[in-house]
Structure formats: C-alpha cells, structure tokens
C-alpha cells in the first residue's frame, strides 16, 4: 500500500450534451507507484488527455468526474475545492504539456518564472530560490545555466524550452508529474534528448511520471509500465516489456503489429480493420468487438473487466477462466 502514490478507481468522466450524457471515460482503474513512470498510449480520442486532466483537476466544464475516485497519497483529490486543488497543482503534481510555449510566459525571464514557482511552493529566500533554479536548469541539461537563466523564453530553442518546462514542473518538488505528449512538437533528434531528460531527472528527483503519448517508441524507452486505452476504456495494462513483447489484448496485439519494424523487414503491416468508434456509438459488450479477429458471442453482450493474464491485466474475454477460449 505504502508505495502506491496515485490510485484511480472506476473513473467515469461525462460531458452533458443536448442529447444526454456523453461518457468519455468509462471506469478507468490504475495505480502509479512512487517514482514509477507509467505510460498511457492509445489513438487520438481514446481519452488519454482527459485521464490526465481529471487527475490534476483541469477538466474543462461542462466535463465532470461523475463516478469513481482518485487518491493521491491515500487522500481523495477528486472532490477537492478549486482552491484546495490549486495548492496540490505544482506542489504535489507537476505538469508538462505538448507545446512548451503554453507553459511559459513570454514577458518574464526564465529566472523570474522559475523563482516564482519555487517560492510559491517552498519557503526559500530569493537567493536560495535562484540557486535552486540554476540547479534545476542544470539538471535538465541547459548548458551554462547560470548565464542563460536571465534570458527570455524566445531566446531558447524548442528543445531548450521544453527542458525549462520540465524544470518548472519539478520546481515544487512534486511527487507526480503528468506529461501530456511532451515530445510530440519537437524534432526527432531533440525528442530523444527530452525523453532522456524526463526519465533521468524525474528519477533523480524521486517524482513519479504519468506519460501520455501516442508514440510507442517513447513508451518503450521511458516507462516502467504502460496502460493502453481504447474508446475511453482501459484495454490493457502491465510492465512495459510484457505489453510490448507479449501483449494479451487483441487491440494491443494489432497496435504493436501496425508499427513498422526496424529490426526486421515485413512485407505488410498488421492492419486492424475499421476505426475506433465515436463516443456516442460505442458497441455493446467489448468496445473493440466489431474490429476484433477473435470476437465470439459473449464479446457482443457483456463488457469484459480487466482480467489478470501472466503479468498483465487485459480487458478481454479470451482470458476469462471459464471462457474456455
């Protein structure tokens, strides 16, 4: 118990709409351990960002958590007031988003922004805070940090800015960092650098990370465990090596096969027929059933829960003990 940092149970997020409620997240459950990096993958619209936004209390209205619980350090955070949640953001949970420019204020220097964030959360003098700010920039790999710290964001390149954003996220010494597509907007050669910074710096600072991305390569290089989302639900979760090398859910199996391989030449990529359903047209039973090559009767009527298969959990009836599949 003690090493569970974040615990999400049966999380449901809904958007009230003219024609009733749109259920965007449907009973999502997972844990993140202290210091662990959990990846969250899935295609566009699967609910990755919404999951992150629910945890940090930044769901855009009218979206709301309408079921389940979110606990941080054993304390519920899904029912906190806006003011209480604001205290947790930055201090207990840090954030890194896709576009570094949205997280940085163009009219303040890097030093001003870092020092302000540090002093919001930690009782440090100006001098101590500046020293801490330089150390953070140093940790995320800004060369000559003590000279560059008084620059403005526009004087930094895209990759450097994303390093600064990671430093900002770490400034309040949070226990958890939620990073939503932190490398997607960057050049490939810079992506690799940012992945390394995120992984190593967070480990050094003892922060757990929830890393949202659609890039399996980033997941493979960074994460301890990975959760695969499909149509607002969790399809599979497990240790990263197991999910990548021995996926148990037919969707994960298809997803892995659809990525062009570098290791060996394949004639044809694995192709999952069709596309992910819209949220207002999710089929009965297993959400994946119209596209699944292993579908059987039960899949069309009953929704599968996460079922333990070796080291993974997969929401698939193939793995039910009594299924005999």
């Amino acid at each position: 118990m003690a090493d569970t940092l974040l615990s999400v149970k049966d999380l449901v997020v809904e958007f009230p709409q003219r024609r009733g409620l749109l259920r965007a997240l449907d009973q999502i459950s997972f844990d993140i351990k202290r210091g662990e990096i959990l990846g969250v993958v899935g295609e566009s619209g699967a609910g990755k960002s919404l999951t992150g936004a629910s945890i940090i209390g930044l769901l855009e209205p009218p979206g709301r958590v309408s079921g389940g619980t979110i606990e941080l350090d054993g304390q519920r955070i899904d029912n906190l007031s806006t003011a209480e949640m604001r205290k947790i953001r930055g201090r207990k949970i840090g954030m890194v988003f896709q576009d570094p420019l949205t997280s940085l204020n163009p009219i303040f220097t890097i030093a001003e922004q870092l020092i302000e964030t540090i002093q919001t959360h930690l009782k440090l003098s100006d001098k101590e805070a500046r020293k801490q700010a330089i150390k953070l920039l140093d940790d995320v790999g800004i060369p000559a940090a003590s000279q560059r710290i008084d620059d403005y964001p526009h004087q930094f390149s895209g990759g450097m800015r994303q390093r600064v954003v990671i430093a900002l996220a770490l400034a309040g010494e949070p226990e958890l960092i939620i990073a939503d597509e932190p490398t997607t907007a960057l050049d490939v050669s810079v992506q690799a650098q940012i992945i390394d910074v995120l992984k190593n710096t967070c480990k050094e600072h003892g922060a757990a990370v929830m890393l949202v991305t659609h890039d399996m390569g980033v997941i493979a290089e960074t994460c301890d465990r990975v959760a695969v989302m499909y149509a607002g639900r969790l399809a599979e979760i497990g240790p990263v090596r197991e999910v990548i090398k021995h996926p148990k859910h037919p969707y994960t199996i298809g997803l892995m096969g659809s990525i062009p391989s570098l290791a060996h030449q394949v004639e044809r990529l694995v192709q999952i027929p069709g596309s992910m359903p819209r949220l207002d047209a999710i089929p009965e039973g297993c959400a994946f059933n119209p596209r699944c090559n292993r579908v059987f009767d039960r899949c069309r009527t009953e929704r599968p829960d996460l079922i333990a298969v070796e080291e993974n959990l997969a929401a698939c009836w193939l793995h039910a003990k009594e299924a005999g599949a």
Partner: protein, 331 residues
C-alpha cells in the same frame, strides 16, 4: 539501370527572401535576409520505385515536393520528368506533365474542399484533364476509385467532414489517382494519423503501387516508415542532401554522421535492446547556417576543413555522401 529515370532532379536550389519590410530594414540597418531552403539537391527516381526524402523539420522536404509538382519555381537547377524539363514544357505537354505527377498532402483535413461532395472532389481532375466528359462514365470511375481505396460507391454523396482522418486520406488518394498519374509525391501522408490508421494507408499505398506500377516520392520524418516504404533514401539536413543510398544499405551501414545520428535517435519501440548513443545539439538557424559543412557544430568528426569548405556528394563507402571524414577515411 541503363533505363532513363522517371524523375531526375538536378542541382535544385530554392531561396526565400525572409527580410523584414524595406522600411524596418533601413531603420534597423539590417541587410536583406535570404533563406536557402533547398541547396543544390540532385537525385533520380526510377519507374516503379519509391524514393524517400527524410529529414527533420525545416530540412526542405516540402519545398522539394512543391517544386516537383510545379507549385513552386526553383531558384536554380532543373527537374526532368520522363526526360522533359518541367520549366520548359508548354501547352499540351505541360498539361500532360501536370496530370502524370500528382501529390498527396500531410493534412487530409485541409486538402479537401469542405463544401464539395466527395464524388465531385474525386471527379474534378477527370474533367480538368479532359480524361472523360460523359457524366455516367465519370460516376462509374469515381465509384471504382472509391472501392479501390477501401471506401464504398455510396460515399460519393457525403462531405469530407463525415469521414475520419484515415478515410479522408483515402479520399485524397482516390482524387490523386483519378488523374491517372504515374508519379505520386506523398508529403508526410500519414504523419497526422494514428499508427493503426497509418498501417492501413501504407498498406494501401503499397497495393496501389503494385497494381498501377506507380512511382513514389515519399516524404517523411519517420525513419521506420521510410524504411518500410522506400527502395532508396535521401537524407536532408538544412536543405542539402547529405547521404543517398539503397534503403537496406543505409540502415545497415549509415555513413554520414548525421544519418547515424538520425538512426540513433529512433526510439527502440520493439525493445530489442539496441543501444543508443545520445543525440546532441539542435538544428541551427537556416537563415544563418554554419560555415563549411552545415553539420559541423554537431559533428564529432569535424575538423578545420569541415568548418571552412563545403563537402560535395561523392560515392564513398558504398554510399553517396557529402562528408570529408568519409572521403578521407577518418571514421
């Protein structure tokens, strides 16, 4: 190999004037600023083959694509299609070249007219190039094309917004095919798509190539996609081709230090345990590129010569590279 290449790009250069307005320049005493987006690029593509251009953002991929399909004029250099120079073709010859070379863009949302029905979008090139004027026959062709790309004939009554990203890219492909082209320029055709949808489109493109003997100029920043699709790969850095080689060969034995670095930057999504050397540095400002070899500030093999002289493409070490260290055998 003695066969004439379908596309020949010879010493292609494109510059952009990115100066501030004249008055600001006078006040701030700034000189004119010229950005060389494409710098003396040469390559050839044989009929029925796929040539891929890879490179990071700003390396000049789209600028080359636009020149090949004649959406942009070269500042200097030549483009030959089937032996005819693009810029010299006039009248009927020009129209025929435009038909034979079609393009598919990255953004399937922007490239289709939202107010047109899918059937009209696909039929447009058929009328524009005068391939057929009989309405019923055109309709039959549109239906056939829709089924070729995995949609149904009924889809021609719908509007683009009724389709997903992958389906829209299929529509864009059907539209390109309706001109009956021989050559398709595909500029990041799957970059905006999820990997599972990307797999569908890449498979479709391979099937179409087999069926219609198409030739591709395929553009991507994704090395694993390029490896899957291309026979030959050209690597661009700051507007210049630094290495061209057979796809297998390039991956097995990259020669140019930048090619090596790009390969090293690919995350190991299969967890094969491949070891990565950390990538260093970032792409310099293209308005003010480094002297000599543009890669020298990031290159571990750079020496004084690299800082002064510009390396030219040469056949060395079973590849074609622009690198002094490769020429001099300094690796």
């Amino acid at each position: 190999m003695s066969q004439q290449p379908l596309l020949k790009v010879d010493n292609l250069t494109r510059r952009f004037d990115v100066s501030k307005p004249w008055l600001n320049r006078m006040i701030e005493r700034e000189p004119k600023q010229i950005l060389t987006a494409v710098n003396q690029v040469s390559f050839e593509v044989e009929k029925g083959k796929s040539f891929a251009l890879v490179g990071e953002s700003g390396s000049g991929k789209s600028t080359i694509a636009k020149m090949v399909v004649n959406l942009l004029n070269p500042s200097s250099g030549h483009i030959y299609f089937d032996g005819q120079e693009l810029s010299q073709a006039k009248g009927a010859a020009f129209k025929s070249l435009r038909r034979r070379v079609q393009m598919i863009f990255q953004d399937p949302f922007a490239s289709l007219n939202p107010r047109w029905r899918v059937g009209d979008i696909i039929a447009e090139p058929i009328y524009a190039f005068g391939l057929e004027s009989d309405k019923l026959k055109v309709q039959k062709t549109v239906e056939r094309l829709l089924s070729t790309v995995g949609l149904t004939g009924r889809d021609r009554y719908k509007f683009p917004h009724e389709f997903s990203g992958g389906q829209r890219q299929r529509i864009a492909i059907a539209r390109a095919l309706s001109a009956n082209p021989e050559f398709l320029v595909c500029d990041e055709p799957t970059s905006a798509l999820d990997v599972s949808v990307q797999a569908q489109i890449l498979n479709l493109m391979q099937d179409l190539q087999d069926e219609f003997n198409l030739t591709y100029l395929f553009i991507s920043h994704d090395m694993s996609v390029v490896k899957h699709m291309a026979d030959t790969i050209g690597v661009l850095y700051l507007g210049g081709l630094v290495e061209v080689n057979d796809s297998q060969q390039l991956f097995n034995q990259p020669v140019h230090p930048y090619t090596r670095m790009l390969l090293d930057a690919i995350p190991d999504h299969e967890m094969t345990g491949r070891r990565r050397t950390p990538v260093t540095g970032e792409i310099p400002n293209p308005i003010n590129p480094p002297s000599g070899c543009p890669f020298h500030p990031r290159c571990q093999y750079a020496n004084d010569r690299c800082k002064q002289e510009v390396p030219r493409s040469k056949a060395v070490m079973n590849s074609t590279v622009a690198c002094f260290a490769a020429e001099e055998g300094r690796f």
